[in-house]
Symmetry: C2
Subunit: 324 residues, 2 copies
């Protein structure tokens, strides 16, 4: 494609230099018809997620954050399998008037987050598009991957980190509040714009065979727990009092519990643990906060146990994208 | 995402059924956070191409042809490496008003072309988008992949099939001529809308170690031969009289030679052959028409030798997408 400034040739030369593979298993990186790598002995785990301007982000979303988030959401998918990320390919659709500076910042940031997670960029495709589209493919390795379908009645339900932080970040972003404008809002905006995929935790959990089922919370707890229940053919009880909600979130929003239950994009891990493993869980070094929020039950459907002990159906609410 | 008719759940259930893997090496297909497969002993070859509405195709492009073409362009990339396609993942951005019937036809066709090439659909991502976007990732296996960088002075330059057919198809499509409207235009429209990736030929060429360098002709002969020259640090001579142009194309367009030289989307293979291999080339069963069109030369730059013996520089012309 033709673009202002840098030619396609210069761009590819720049990307080749930037993403020169240091990984011995890469036989051929960016610049040919396809990339080539030597797989190891382990099964390969592969995921692909697309982010679209106007749907998943606004046009003025800073490129360095977009790059991070587009890889992070895929890293989070691998984390939810307990897999170790290895290789990525990018697909980038950009308007013809995209500035070099934008691309420079995007790829510098993509390179940064790839390095942070020992991910090698193998190649990709850059093409003209009416609005910005980022489609990443991520390949990893996993010996014993954790599926969504392994939860059994009696298992405990756990979640990593804090819930609802990103939903509050989305609220603030919708109100036009900028990152850096106020200390009190930054933690939420960071959670929304630059979520941290729980890669190390996912690998540790899988390595110690802790979870019977696992998923990452991208669409919201109610939806993603619903996926585990459906795939496993079970139900679940969630205790509202047990939800890991920060004092800051409670203070910032009267909808804190709603955000923790239904807000998307937290990219924390949601997993179930058998009673046998639960007994020894405290002896396993996970290096990360996890919180028990409920239990897996027989039959179908999910129940929310309120702080006063009353029970009500927990209905999955579809996460609304940025456009909403 | 929300869509008219079929819910996301129903759609995933449908895709799971449609793309149920018959391949033993697939451990986990569609429906979890990621797909899992067991790699073989061979290096893995991976490519990713994005097709965008309004850039690569018009909004009324029939879904079954779009599905075929989106996989074909990736199959062609693997063919150009001499790799055997194995697994694909799709990324699909669709407007919210996309009909079930559209999706049904798209995925039925994708399933069809995947089967034709023994490709297993491992999974993917469907999301809302302002206009249609198709991003496919294709994984294959290749023992001795053929790069763009291996051409040496004295090598012969070959091309498979016919050139310029797709460019004429694009011309007709731009003029609003429909496929099926006239027998004389159908061959060109088919070449443009439903190109045949040269997968078997690519594998045979690589298997017999025929090419020193290989690429597929997606941007046009002049551009793609330019890539081989640049990556190999060589020049090339192309003989106009040797270009495989069909009598039908010569009859249909006064620009036949121009189309053969610069028209994109033919998805034929362009490869170079050393003098030693050239001697025995006729004894190698390739099962496909190949034509010698020129030679690799020392130094830089490409030259076109006209039918009257005169020489002129062959300047790569960027292929113009559908929007042009």
């Amino acid at each position: 494609m033709k673009r202002r400034g840098l030619s396609e040739k210069e761009l590819i030369a720049d990307l080749r230099k930037r993403f020169k593979p240091s990984d011995d298993s890469v036989i051929l990186g960016i610049g040919d018809d396809a990339a080539v790598f030597r797989p190891g002995d382990m099964p390969l785990v592969v995921t692909k997620d697309m982010l679209v301007e106007g749907v998943h982000f606004l046009p003025d979303h800073p490129p360095h954050l977009l790059a991070r988030k587009s890889l992070s959401v895929n890293l989070s998918d691998l984390a939810a399998m307990g897999a170790r990320p290895r290789f990525a390919l990018f697909g980038l659709g950009i308007p013809t008037d995209t500035e070099n500076d934008w691309l420079e910042r995007f790829f510098r940031s993509l390179s940064g987050i790839a390095s942070e997670h020992d991910v090698t960029l193998l190649g990709g495709d850059i093409t003209e598009a009416p609005s910005l589209i980022i489609s990443l493919t991520l390949l990893g390795e996993g010996k014993d991957v954790i599926r969504r379908s392994g939860a059994r009645p009696g298992d405990a339900v756990f979640v990593s980190g804090l819930l609802g932080e990103a939903a509050q970040g989305l609220e603030l972003a919708k109100q036009g509040i900028m990152w850096g404008a106020a200390a009190g809002s930054d933690r939420f905006l960071k959670a929304f714009y630059d979520p941290v995929p729980q890669v190390a935790l996912g690998c540790r959990l899988a390595g110690h065979k802790v979870p019977t089922a696992m998923i990452d919370i991208s669409d919201g707890l109610s939806v993603d727990l619903g996926h585990i229940c459906e795939e496993s053919g079970v139900g679940a009880e969630v205790e509202a009092a047990g939800l890991p909600i920060s004092p800051e979130l409670r203070q910032s929003s009267p909808a804190a519990e709603e955000m923790a239950l239904h807000g998307g994009e937290d990219y924390q891990l949601l997993f179930t643990v058998s009673p046998q493993v639960l007994e020894n869980l405290t002896r396993i070094p996970l290096g990360h906060k996890i919180t028990r929020i409920g239990s897996i039950t027989e039959g179908e459907g999910m129940v929310l146990i309120k702080a006063d002990g009353s029970r009500q159906p927990l209905v999955p609410k579809g996460y609304q994208h940025f456009r909403a």
